[in-house]
């Protein structure tokens, strides 16, 4: 009975997120992710085992390395374990699936440690990877992560060109789907929701969540669908960091400086 209730609760929690859409998700992330992220927390704990969700039939998986070389990988039970990285930086993981009337694609960027690449990450994001593509503009920076309550800009490209006035949906686990529309340059900005639950004090005590961006476009009787998934972390300023107290401390420091000024001035007068 308890198991049934638990299953129903889990199903209810996950219901809706990425339903029926092809996307990348970290595989068996929970415990390992927390452990990995406890040390450093500078993108070193990124999961290298990923699952292709809602994938049916054969698909091609391409790994684009930070120096822009490509490698074809194979999924085993829709799961992929990334090979050990020799070059540090961003890797783009691209999944393509084509049927008679539909072209699906999913992209995820994974940050890995290694010797520095001499190629700018701007070239990796700018490189066309799929027909319809959601391009981070820019990606979160090295040693950083996407963070809740912050805004990020993306571009929507179709066959390498900006796609204007097209809806893009943002899905997270705990917030209803939000829809954004691209502007005339194919750009749109999202604000990641502060929707973390059971938050513990300390950044490394809380595992990242996932956000999913989905776009679709019809062209020459073909429906193109593309997704981008990335992890995002909670924002300490929403929980255990107070900006009001911070501003107050700056003010107290400033008053301390003015007090020193006054004291110096009085001493100067006394000295004559």
């Amino acid at each position: 009975m308890n198991k049934t209730i638990l299953t129903l609760l889990v199903a209810a929690t996950l219901w809706g997120y990425g339903d029926g859409k092809m996307y990348w998700a970290p595989h068996g992330c929970d415990e390992g992710k927390v452990t990995a992220s406890k040390h450093g927390g500078h993108g070193m704990g990124e999961n290298t085992s990923l699952h292709a969700m809602n994938l049916e039939g054969n698909s091609s998986v391409t790994l684009i390395t930070p120096d822009l070389s490509t490698e074809n990988l194979t999924l085993i039970n829709n799961t992929l374990i990334l090979p050990k990285a020799s070059i540090g930086g961003y890797y783009a993981l691209v999944l393509n699936h084509r049927s008679d009337n539909q072209v699906d694609s999913a992209i995820r960027y994974v940050s890995q440690q290694g010797r520095p690449s001499k190629v700018s990450p701007t070239k990796l994001t700018a490189l066309p990877k799929t027909d319809l593509e959601i391009v981070p503009d820019p990606l979160h920076r090295e040693h950083d992560r996407y963070t809740a309550s912050k805004s990020y800009r993306f571009l929507l490209h179709f066959q390498g060109k900006p796609l204007a006035n097209t809806p893009v949906t943002l899905e997270t686990r705990n917030t209803p789907t939000q829809t954004y529309t691209t502007d005339s340059t194919g750009a749109f900005s999202i604000t990641l929701p502060n929707d973390f639950k059971n938050v513990q004090v300390g950044k490394r005590e809380n595992k990242p969540s996932e956000f999913l961006l989905i776009a679709q476009h019809n062209d020459t009787n073909l429906l193109y669908k593309s997704s981008l998934t990335m992890p995002y972390s909670l924002n300490p300023n929403d929980f255990w960091q107070s900006q009001t107290y911070g501003a107050g401390a700056i003010f107290i420091g400033f008053l301390g400086g003015l007090f020193l000024y006054r004291r110096t001035k009085i001493q100067g007068v006394k000295r004559g």
């Binding site: 820019p138 950083d144 900006q243 401390a249 400033f254 003015l258």
Partner: protein, 333 residues
């Protein structure tokens, strides 16, 4: 127009340009990504937390290397050379940059240095009484603080964190208290670095010190020259290589130096040693920022010199002293 043909005026133009580059440079010259920044090891406080900046300070990689790489010698039995490789690259890059510009990174390029000087200019224009020079006693007391910060907050605490003796908050403790982090991010409209953390006592203490220090620096800069520079750990790091710097301050003093103290009064870091008698000697002090004010305000021909390699690029003279003093009076009026 003649008022603007001085070394200080030239320095202000360079400082403003550098400020724009180091705070907003990623939008035009470099990119948003760390790997694309200009040197990634700048011997000046250009903060990595400012994601629009054109470069980042050498102290952040140094702290990270102590925490994550050098510590592996003790924790994982890593070989010394691979564990130190990153640190050696950082040190070599800093040495190369010091060779080119020596300590002028502080006086000419540092965004926080320019920010403090701007606040001092505002204080002067507001009519606040300026504290001309700090006493020898005060200067002598303050000087060791920067070495303490460099040794403990930049090197030792991050290393102990990596080994496991200290909590993660001590992994980059200097960045946690650095006023440049708050200033540069605020300059780009990002106020997220102004906070008090309640995560644990370590985070709380560091965030409190950071905010108090920033407020204190703001107020002090209104009437004291370069308040934070006096304790900045960039100075000790530069000092390690100052002997190889091509740009340097050379003194060829005469008997007037014993009684005249114009150079000391002009020095924003109150380096009283520059008054001492010296014959054709490199007097670039650990605290010197190579701002050149001592050369401008020296009333004696050929005594204070700015040299680059074998070339003299600026020398003191009676004539330029008179002009500079006149401009100074006009500015303070």
């Amino acid at each position: 127009m003649d008022k603007f043909l001085t070394l200080t005026a030239l320095r202000r133009v360079v400082q403003l340009t550098a400020f724009l580059f180091f705070v907003y440079g990623a939008t035009i010259f470099t990119t948003f990504y760390t790997g694309d920044k200009l040197t990634q090891n700048l011997p000046a406080l250009s903060c990595a937390y400012d994601q629009s900046g054109g470069d980042l300070c050498a102290l952040i990689p140094l702290q990270h290397q102590m925490d994550h790489r050098v510590s592996t010698i003790f924790t994982q039995g890593e070989k010394v050379l691979p564990a130190l490789m990153g640190t050696l690259i950082t040190i070599a890059t800093v040495a190369g940059l010091i060779l080119i510009l020596n300590k002028a990174f502080c006086g000419w390029l540092c965004p926080l240095g320019f920010f403090q000087e701007t606040i001092t200019m505002i204080g002067t224009k507001l009519g606040l009484t300026q504290l001309g020079s700090l006493s020898h006693e005060t200067v002598t007391k303050i000087r060791p603080i920067k070495w303490f910060i460099f040794l403990f907050l930049v090197l030792i605490f991050p290393l102990l964190t990596g080994i496991g003796f200290l909590g993660h908050e001590w992994g980059s403790p200097f960045c946690s208290i650095c006023p440049s982090r708050i200033m540069t991010t605020a300059m780009t409209g990002d106020m997220s670095q102004v906070y008090i953390s309640q995560a644990n006592w370590g985070y709380f203490a560091l965030s409190l010190i950071a905010d108090l220090l920033f407020g204190l620096m703001l107020a002090l800069a209104l009437f004291v020259r370069q308040p934070f520079c006096r304790i900045c750990p960039i100075l000790p790091m530069q000092t390690l290589f100052k002997k190889i710097g091509l740009l340097r301050l050379v003194k060829n003093g005469d008997s007037h130096c014993d009684t005249c103290s114009s150079c000391v009064k002009a020095c924003p870091m109150d380096i009283f040693e520059i008054q001492k008698h010296a014959v054709n000697e490199n007097i670039t002090h650990s605290d010197c920022t190579l701002c050149g004010r001592c050369v401008e305000f020296c009333p004696h021909d050929g005594v204070m010199n700015f040299k680059y390699g074998p070339f003299t690029i600026l020398t003191s003279s009676k004539e330029s002293f008179k002009k500079r003093t006149k401009i100074d009076k006009w500015w303070k009026a």
